[in-house]
Every structure is written in C-alpha cells, then in structure tokens.
C-alpha cells in the first residue's frame, strides 16, 4: 500500500511541476508584453509618428525617418527575397521531388534558417558595403532578403507538397505542359499557405536588428535614399536604449511597442489562417 501511495504522490508532484513550467513560460510572455505596453504607451503620440528626431538631448521629436526606412528596407527585401524563395521551393517540390538533391537543399535551407543573422550582416558588409565605401539601405535590404530566402523556400516546398498529386495528373491528362500545371493548378491550390508563409517571413525579418547594424547602419535625418545609410526602427531602438537621455529611452519603448504588436498581430493572424486552412498547427 505504502509503495502505491508513494508512486501516486510522485506522479502528482511531477505533474504539478510541469504545470508550473507552463505557468513559468506564460509568466515571461505576460511580463515582457506588459512592460512593453506600459512603458511604450506613455511615449506614444502623433508626434512620434509624424516628426523626425530632434538633436540629441533636446526632448520631443519622433521616429518618422525610422518608420519610413524600416518600410523601405523591408519592402525591397521582400521584393528580392520572396520570388527567389517561392521559385526555389517550386523546384524542390516539383521538378526535383523525391530526388536526393531536393533532400539536401531543403536540409541546407533548414540550417540556413537558423544561422546567426549577424553573420549574414558581416557577409553583406564584405560584399556590398566595403567595395562601395559606404553603408546603404540596399545592403540592409539584401541582408534581410538573404535571411528570407530559405524561410520562404521551405514554406513553399511544404505547401506545394500538400497539394495532391492526382490534381496534377488531372491537368496533365488534359495535355497541359508542366509549367502551366504548376502555375495554374498547383500554385492555386497552395496560394493561401504560400501567402501566409510569406507574411510570417516578413514579420520575422521586420524584427531583425543584427544584420542591419553593419549594412543600412542608421541615420538621424529623414532619408528615402536607399543608396545611403538609412534609419530602421530596430537599430534606432538599440541606439536610443544605449543612449544617455530619458527621452530617448521613452521613444525606444514606444518603437518597441509598435514593432512588437505589429509583428505579433501578423504572426497570430498567419497562424490562425494556416490552422483554419490546413487543420493542424
């Protein structure tokens, strides 16, 4: 009898601990989001979006330049990275399906998804910033595109694999060439998944800081020139948080609030769409 009680007690203790672990995880999420919300909301006002930064030490001003810079860099990164990712994923899922090459390239892409992004920053610095002699928005966009490609490639490959093979056979039977089958049948079947995957990958790179430090650098003035250094929200947060002024800290929190909730919103919506469309996850 005693032994049985001990086993039951052991089970209760272990399961309670695992419940505490879950609470521990949720606790951090609430803590972090709560801090960002509380601190960020204080500095959030219209001037924050509409004005450019004031000279250091002078209170007021906003981050208009960083919002514009962030949008430009992310936009061009998307334009460069997404087509390459989608086409590459198409090759792996269609033409190279079941071949060894496809297996190895998707494995490599999986590794590249997690490779430190700061390494990508140094790489782009060496091939774009150093030869040209100056930081540029283009370098930042290319760095983010390089990070996006493997993410989009893997998502596309997965989504295309989910399209039933019989659907393609039906199209072949009508005499359609393979490229038409891919574009008109396979893409159409997977469009929701691919689109959502692209959105999630944009959300991912929009929060990146490390690859921008040595590429697009920073700029405290308004600039839409992709050929020169350009401000981004994330690098500005880094600079402001490390700076000595209280006003800067406030604005860093406000920028953090905007970027965090924008990214979380896209992520949650994206995941819900995938869940609704594909049932699992």
């Amino acid at each position: 009898m005693k032994r049985e009680q001990k086993r039951k007690l052991q089970s209760v203790v272990a399961l309670t601990l695992s419940m505490l672990a879950a609470l521990f995880g949720i606790f951090w999420l609430v803590f972090i989001l709560g801090s960002v919300l509380v601190h960020g909301a204080r500095a959030l006002n219209a001037s924050f979006f509409l004005n450019d930064p004031t000279p250091p030490g002078v209170t007021g001003g906003g981050m208009r330049n960083a919002f514009v810079g962030q949008l430009l860099i992310t936009l061009f990164a998307t334009i460069m990275g997404v087509p390459v990712g989608i086409l590459g994923g198409t090759f792996l899922a269609e033409y190279a399906r079941g071949k060894r090459l496809s297996h190895y390239v998707s494995m490599l892409a999986d590794i590249m998804v997690t490779v430190p992004t700061i390494v990508v920053g140094t790489f782009i610095y060496a091939i774009m910033v150093k030869p040209l002699g100056h930081f540029s928005g283009w370098a930042g966009a290319v760095a983010l595109a390089v990070i996006m490609i493997p993410v989009v490639l893997r998502t596309t490959e997965n989504m295309l694999t989910l399209v039933p093979w019989t659907l393609r056979e039906a199209a072949f039977a009508l005499g359609a060439p393979y490229y038409k089958v891919i574009i008109q049948v396979v893409y159409r079947g997977a469009i929701t998944g691919i689109f959502t995957g692209v959105l999630l990958s944009i959300a991912r790179v929009a929060g990146e800081t490390a690859p921008l430090l040595f590429t697009s650098f920073n700029n405290s003035f308004f600039s839409g020139n992709m050929n020169g250094p350009i401000a981004s929200l994330t690098v500005t947060i880094f600079q402001y948080a490390m700076g000595p002024y209280d006003d800067w800290h406030q604005q860093a929190w406000a920028a953090a609030l905007v970027i965090t909730f924008a990214i979380l919103l896209v992520t949650i919506v994206g995941r819900m769409v995938i869940k609704l469309r594909y049932g699992k996850k």
Partner: protein, 328 residues
C-alpha cells in the same frame, strides 16, 4: 509502398520536363537557379568570411586564435578565447535553465492540459519565439537587469554563494549586467523552440503503447517517464541541439546586458563578451586592418560552429522522423 509511389512520380517528372513547350525548360531552369541560390549563399558566406579574415588567420593561426586570451586593439593582438568563453557559458547556462522548463511545458501540453487549453497554452508559449530579439534586449536592460541586481542576485549570493563547490559562481558585485542575466534572457528565448519540438515528439508516441502502460497500472508520470520520453528521445536531442544553435547566434538580446568585457572569470555576476556581442559592438568601430580581419575571423568561427551544431540537430530530427513516421 510510399517509396514506389515516389519513384513513379520522379519518372513522370523526368518525362514532363522534356515536354515540347520551350517555356517548360525555361521555367525549369529559373526555378533550379532559385533553388541553388541557397547553396550559393551558404558557400558564398563561407568563402567571403575566409577571404576577409585571411590576414588574421595567417597571423594567429587556428589554435593560436582560439586559445589566446588577448583582445587588444592597440597592440593589434587578438584571440577568441574570451569571446568563446562568454558564448559557451551563456549558452550552456541558458540550456540548463531552458531544457527542464521546456520539457515540463511539453508534458503539460500533451499529457495534462484539458483539450480546450492545449491550443492556447502551446500557442502562447510559441509567441515567445515571435518577439524580436531587440525587444528582449530592451526589456532585459531596463526591466530584468535591475530586478536581478536588487533582488535575485543578492539572494543567490546569500544562499548558493555560501556553498563550497559552486559558491564562487555566485560571488562578486551584483550589477545585473552580467552573464547570469544574459543567460536568463537567452533561456526565455529558446524555451519555445525546445518546447515545441518536444511537444511534437511526444505527440508521436502511439496511444496504444501509452494505454498498455496504463493498463498494467502505471501512473501518469510513470507513463511519461518510462514510455513517452524514451520514445521521443531522438526528437528531444534534436530540439535541444536546435536551441543550442539558436542561443549561440543570438545577438541583440544579450548585447544589452552582457557588458562587452573581454575577460574570463569564475563568477556569473561578471560582465563578459560573446562572439555576437563583440561583433555588434566593435565591427563598425574597428580601425585597423588586423582588427577588422579578426572580427571577420570571429564571424567565421561562429558560422562554422553553428552550422555544425545545426547540422547535427537536423541529423537527429531526420533520423527521428524516419524511425517514427507516425500518422502526422
């Protein structure tokens, strides 16, 4: 069965790309080039980093760089030991904190939580992974570091710091800007990765096997400990290795709270430098050729190291999926 089907498909594909329509070949070529872009980027990063760090490689060698403690921009003598030390300590400590928690979460989500809670709790934990690392850094610097300095670290000093063997780890001045704080932040960041892979692996355990264990009178914990965990061991290894790779390359979250001090110390309450933090702080300021080359050398080390670890992670996960293809 499955293999056969795949074989037939490949053969079909072969005939199809040789179709008469010239656009077919064009589309094939375009997609092939796009797919090989990933390969080109990987090889490109490796060669460019080797090229850029070549002066430092030539001057310091491989082991002479890895084991040298100096990091002296004035005399232009550089070694990676302090950076590797910081990276190793913060990464290991964050894994020590994160792994038990992540496995606990996975157990809770798969075995204990009522069905209506499974989705929301798992989803909430995964949201931790979506928060940008700069936010972790900002929050760690302004919110967590003061708490660590004023409450957690003095407490640890008075308790664990008095113990004989591990005591020295918890002594010194509790500033909050140190390896312990950095490790705590890192652990929060990697919990969702380990937890979600552990959860997926747990879910692959066949119900039948679990029910057999219950039938012979095992308690829930015994089923988890003796059936579910052994069954998903490879998956968990893969998840841990993946998290290790993540923690290794994390930059912004630790750049705020580590202090960027090139030293090797015994106390977790000391500032340190990791490879990523050194790069983030010093890359744009490097004044001499050798300095820049040494920083590129650090980036190269980080790239190679994380590539190997992630490849090992992938190896475990692929083997796991092959062993238990499951219904999912």
């Amino acid at each position: 069965m499955k293999k056969e089907a795949a074989g037939i498909k490949t053969q079909k594909t072969k005939n199809l790309i040789l179709g008469k329509d010239p656009f077919d070949l064009l589309f094939y070529m375009v997609t092939a080039v796009a797919a090989l872009a990933v390969l080109a980027i990987t090889i490109g990063i490796f060669f460019i980093l080797v090229r850029e760090s070549y002066p430092a490689i030539k001057k310091f060698g491989v082991f002479g760089f890895i084991f040298a403690k100096d990091w002296d921009p004035y005399r232009e003598i550089f070694g990676a030991a302090t950076n590797l030390f910081g990276t190793a300590v913060t990464t290991c400590l964050s894994l020590v904190i994160a792994i038990p928690v992540a496995i606990g979460i996975a157990i809770f989500v798969t075995e204990i939580a009522p069905d209506f809670l499974k989705g929301p709790i798992g989803g909430a934990i995964e949201l931790l992974a979506a928060i940008p690392s700069i936010i972790y850094g900002l929050w760690g610097f302004f919110t967590l570091a003061p708490i660590m300095a004023n409450h957690v670290e003095p407490l640890l000093m008075d308790t664990l710091g008095k113990l004989p063997l591990i005591g020295p780890l918890f002594q010194g001045t509790p500033m909050g800007i140190d390896m312990l704080t950095a490790s705590v932040i890192l652990s929060i960041m990697i919990i969702p990765f380990t937890a979600s892979i552990a959860r997926d692996s747990f879910n692959l355990t066949p119900e039948l096997v679990k029910e057999s264990a219950y039938a012979v009178g095992a308690t829930r914990w015994e089923v988890v400990k003796n059936v579910v965990i052994p069954y998903s061991r490879l998956g968990i290894f893969g998840g841990v290795a993946l998290s290790l790779g993540r923690a290794l390359g994390e930059t912004m979250a630790v750049a705020f709270v580590l202090g960027n001090n090139h030293q090797i110390t015994t106390s977790l309450f000391d500032a340190a430098a990791t490879i990523t933090v050194t790069l983030a702080n010093e890359f744009t300021e490097a004044s001499s050729k050798m300095y820049t080359a040494s920083l590129f050398y650090l980036a190269l080390l980080l790239f190679v190291l994380s590539f190997i670890i992630l490849a090992v992670a992938k190896f475990f996960l692929v083997r796991y999926q092959k062993k238990y293809p499951g219904e999912q």
